[in-house]
Point group: C2
Chain length 285, copies 2
């Protein structure tokens, strides 16, 4: 997905959020704003938003002298989610269709995202899990694909959301490779964040080797690209993976909450919509 | 009120909105984004937001070749509000305290503002009028001031909101001067917009002589400044008037809905709060 003009104000807000999360003072915040204004003038608007985001967040990290501005909010999000483990387990065990419930919970966990906004309402997102129908529902195709496959490549999105992914992975009788960022960007999960959420207990952890939001394949490591090319089924979590990965590949299932109005419009759904979308399907939608 | 760093993303979004309301094509929209990015780098952040807004909206109008980008939405807002005249009249007539009801309706009308967002929910704002307590309530002081005065200078904000102002003005037994923008900016009311809303039937219309949002006194005409200096009581509608006029002048009553989170924080209220605030009061709040 290309960068829309609506993304520009959002990038500027994201840069300011990142500076503040890193504890930057007023003077450094002003410098971040000025540098982001200059950077946005030079970037190619035909790039995907994560390509632009990669450059902006690198510049912010350098300016504020902090390698992981979102470290604190990532830790809090993981701890908050871990406290919900028992609740999640009961929800899934008691559900008429535990697989569907686990998928929906994994999608709801995608609310833990500091990209579209500096605040989110996890409680409300979880309450919606069963009340709100999926805005795009390729659940049947996902179920069939996972039944036939022996393994799945699960591309993570945010720290904390990892705990909700874990609940889904734990009910799959499959060999799961859980891919996380090679270095911090936004509140995206890194190896450290995935370990803190206990993903190493149910999946093989793999770094994408990249610090860009989403999955920009030519920025990833050879190891990740081999895993990607060989994958039978790919679960790609979150908005940025939808923005960067091929919409035409039927191996990919995009699981996300369409928080951003531009992405919602691109998907043809209302903002906030819960999405389970197979690549290659609904291309005319 | 000075410009906060949070205002920068909002200015960029406003510029894009203005270009789109003017019907600008993709290429012109890109130019508007680029020019606004450049402009924001050169502006003095110690200025008030309306000083920055004035420069940005002038540049957009020039770029898109449209003297009044919001003309269409202003006309629609006025027509929509005029259709509510009978409903407003009943609400005020049936109220236990018609003056308070009319003030609350005039405050609720301040939702019709394309500054903080390109969309607003008038129905919801009107439904809140009586349900929601005023977040800052200097209604008693306003009542006393208007009882003692023979005249009032009423500084307007947005087209459409004018109709709600008219309902308040019509129950005042006072000589009212209704001040509007000298030329278009955002969806702020001009003479043409005030006439379309029938304000000439209940007040003397006066131009501020300025096309800046709010009231930047040294950009206004001599005639307006004389009226301002001589005024017994001043009603100043909307966020931009709060941002630009002296918070210490007890002749001024700021009537607004605090839609923007930065202004809400400055006022010490929750976003969306309904404000009737006398200048000089609550300065320690």
């Amino acid at each position: 997905m290309r960068t829309y003009l609506d993304c520009y104000p959002c990038f500027l807000r994201q840069a300011l959020d990142a500076a503040r999360f890193a504890g930057a003072g007023e003077e450094a915040q002003i410098q971040v704003i000025q540098e982001t204004l200059a950077l946005l003038q030079t970037l190619d608007p035909s790039s995907t938003p994560p390509v632009v985001g990669e450059a902006i967040h690198r510049a912010v990290r350098e300016r504020v002298g902090h390698s992981d501005p979102y470290r604190g909010v990532k830790r809090n999000a993981t701890e908050q989610a871990l406290r919900l483990r028992a609740w999640i387990a009961v929800r899934i065990a008691d559900a008429v269709d535990p697989f569907e419930e686990a998928v929906r919970i994994a999608v709801a966990g995608n609310i833990i995202d500091f990209g579209p906004s500096a605040v989110y309402d996890l409680e409300r997102a979880l309450a919606e899990v069963t009340e709100r129908p999926l805005a795009i529902n390729d659940l049947g195709a996902l179920r069939r694909a996972l039944t036939r496959a022996a393994s799945v490549l699960y591309i993570a999105d945010n720290a904390g959301e990892t705990v909700f992914d874990r609940a889904l992975i734990e009910i799959l009788d499959l060999d799961v490779t859980y891919a996380v960022k090679g270095a911090p960007v936004l509140n995206d999960a890194t190896l450290e964040d995935a370990q803190a959420a206990g993903l190493d207990s149910c999946a093989t952890l793999l770094s994408t080797g990249s610090d860009a939001p989403g999955t920009i394949l030519d920025r990833t490591s050879d190891e990740f690209r081999r895993a990607y090319e060989a994958a039978e089924v790919i679960v790609a979590k979150g908005q940025a993976n939808y923005e960067t990965l091929s919409p035409g590949d039927p191996r990919i299932f995009f699981l996300l909450k369409a928080k951003c109005p531009v992405i919602a419009r691109d998907l043809g759904v209302e903002p906030g919509g819960l999405i389970v979308k197979q690549g290659g399907s609904n291309l005319d939608a």
